[in-house]
Structure formats: C-alpha cells, structure tokens
C-alpha cells in the first residue's frame, strides 16, 4: 500500500490534535491539551484507484515559546494549515507557516482548514477574508466531525494524483 506523510500546521489551540483525533480515532475531547514536538498517527483512506496509508504528523502549535522546525516537514507529501475561526490571529500564523513550508519543501498539496464551525456565532473571520485566500479552503468542526474525514481524504486524493 502507498504511504504518504502529511503534516498538520497552525498556531496553538486551533484544533490540530483534535482534528487528527477525530479523523483517526473518531473521538473528541473539549479539554485542550497542548502538543510538544510531534505526535505521529496513521490511518488508511480508501480512494477510487487505491488505498493510501496516511502517516499524520501532528506538529506542535507555533507561538513565541515553540517555533516550528521545518525539518519536521521533510518527506511530507502535503499538509493541512489549520485556523481557529474564532481567533483572527491564527490565520496570520497559518499563512506565515505556509510561506515557510513552501520555502522548506516546495509546492506540495495543501488545504487551509478553518476549524470550529460549531462556534460560528463567535467567528472572527468573514467570508471576504476567506475568499481572498489562495489555496483550497475547507470548514470543519473537530467537535461535531463536520468535513473532517472529507478533508483528509481530499488531501490524500490530491497527493495521489500529483
């Protein structure tokens, strides 16, 4: 079976670990648990042409205390940029990481994941801002599971096609 490594990038507390947890184990916890270093998970996804083993590298969130080492991205076939829709600054962090990642590993498939759709009444992002982004955008909720599976599968499909 084909194996593809993907990375989860984004600021702290945006829900990277929750998305992976929802995708791999179908569970969600409201309790925030910060990640140090990398947490590696694996899940197979069924595509039309073939099954793909996704090796998901859930990287620690970037802030002033923990900078992301781009060496983590080596060998990555694609990545998800995760944003917390209720915190506008996390979009800036994601876009900064996107630029750094492109510099480190070149252009690979990427999707911008706007997480926490279940908290839509408290969103700090408007549609106009989202429309300006120059990569595929998907809105998810790790809490309810909305579009989580589809997001990972879509990335796997794009990576396999490339």
């Amino acid at each position: 079976m084909i194996q593809k490594k993907i990375c989860m990038l984004g600021g702290f507390g945006v829900g990277k670990t929750s998305l992976v947890s929802r995708f791999v184990h179908s569970i969600f916890s409201d309790k925030y648990l910060t990640t140090v270093g990398v947490k590696i998970e694996k899940k197979s996804v069924k595509l039309e042409a073939q099954d793909v083993d996704l090796i998901v590298w859930d990287l620690h969130g970037e802030d002033e205390f923990q900078k992301l080492h781009m060496s983590y991205l080596r060998g990555s076939a694609g990545y998800l940029l995760v944003v917390d829709a209720t915190r506008r600054a996390t979009l800036d962090t994601a876009l900064m990481l996107h630029a750094k990642a492109q510099w480190a590993i070149g252009k690979v498939p990427v999707m911008l994941v706007i997480n926490k759709t279940d908290l839509e009444s408290t969103w700090a992002l408007d549609q106009a801002t989202i429309d300006q982004l120059d990569c595929p955008v998907v809105k998810t909720s790790a809490k309810t599971g909305t579009h989580v599976e589809e997001t990972f599968t879509a990335l796997a499909r794009t990576m396999s096609a490339g």
Binding site: G13, Y32, L33, K39, D63, F65, R74, G75, R87
Partner: protein, 190 residues
C-alpha cells in the same frame, strides 16, 4: 558488563534499542519496555518517516557519534500523554536505533499547557468584551438619560412620599454607570 545486565539496565531505564542490520532491518537488542510496545508494530517503524532516512544517512557516514530527533508525543493505554526521543548511534562499527522516554518534554508540556490555557482564556475574555462593547455603550447612554430625567424632577421635600424611591433610583443609575465604566476599563486592560 554482561549482556543480561545491560538488557536489564536498558529495560529498567525505559530504553528500547535496536541494532540496524546490513539489510536495513532492525533487531531488538533487549526486550522493549512496556511504554514502547504500542509503537513496536512489525519493527520497521514506518511512522518515523524522514527520521529513518536521516538516520540511514548518518549511519552510512560511519562516524562514532549520536544524532537525536524529537520530542515525539504518544499516549499510553490509559490515555496519558508522554514523550520520547529517537537517537541514531554508531558504536564500534555497529548501528543502533534508540527510543528513550523524554521527561524534560513532559515538564515543558506541563508548563506550556498552563501558559497557553491562560492565553486562550485572556483572548476569549477580550473577544467577549469587544463583542459586548457596542451594547454596553447603549446601556450606558440609556442610564445617563435616566439620571438626567431624574434630575428634572422638582426638588423633593422631606414630606414627599416618593422621596425614598427617587433617591434609590438615582443611586441605582449611578451604580450602573460606575459598573459599566469599570467593565470598560477592565476590557481595555486586556
């Protein structure tokens, strides 16, 4: 040191060690500690990804050195998180892959957890305050109008049956404005 003692020591220290054979496969040097059993799989460690590639290049140099990667986070069977690091070692011409618990990363995680929880709470309070600000302003203006209306009432006399009620209303409107101002100052401080 005898082989048995070395194996017991490694197991006691929570170290999982593998020798890399010439064909690229890994042979267990000592029984793996309990924490590592979930990671062992078929012993090829595909989850390590580029770390294995980099370790391979390091071993091929043949220099007696050590190279480390990590920390990596994992959860035990009861869902508790722990961290480990991965090392590639070359010793007397033989190559080893070592997995070791990383208590330093556990401590860092505990510290960052507190800092980030506080930061998230502060951000949330500020967002709530910013969202409430326009409504608070309307309430404040209404309270001021109410106080102004009270002042337009003819001067009270000591026999006025509504004197107590008027004083209570005046005090309440003052208190409301004071509270709104205090809330606004608190929000600005965030």
């Amino acid at each position: 040191m005898s082989d048995d003692l070395l194996k017991a020591l490694m197991s006691g220290l929570g170290i999982a060690a593998f020798e890399r054979r010439a064909d690229g496969s890994f042979a267990m040097v000592a029984p793996v500690p309990t924490w590592f059993q979930r990671l062992l799989g078929d012993g090829t460690f595909p989850f390590l990804g580029h770390i294995l590639d980099e370790a391979g290049r390091f071993w091929n140099k043949g220099e007696p050195m050590l190279r480390e990667w990590g920390p990596c986070a994992e959860v035990d069977e009861v869902g508790r998180q722990f961290h480990y690091k991965v090392s590639a070692v070359t010793m007397t011409g033989r190559h080893y892959l070592i997995f070791q618990l990383d208590p330093g990363a556990d401590r860092l995680q505990a510290m960052l957890q507190k800092v980030r929880e506080r930061e998230l709470a502060t951000e949330q309070e500020a967002a709530t305050a910013a969202k409430a600000a326009p409504s608070m302003q309307v309430v404040r203006e209404t309270a001021e109008e109410f106080r102004a209306l009270l002042k337009q009432w003819p001067s009270p006399t000591s026999t006025d049956p509504l004197l107590e009620l008027r004083m209570a209303l005046s005090l309440k409107s003052d208190e409301l404005i004071r509270r709104l101002d205090a809330f606004a100052r608190q929000s600005a401080a965030h």
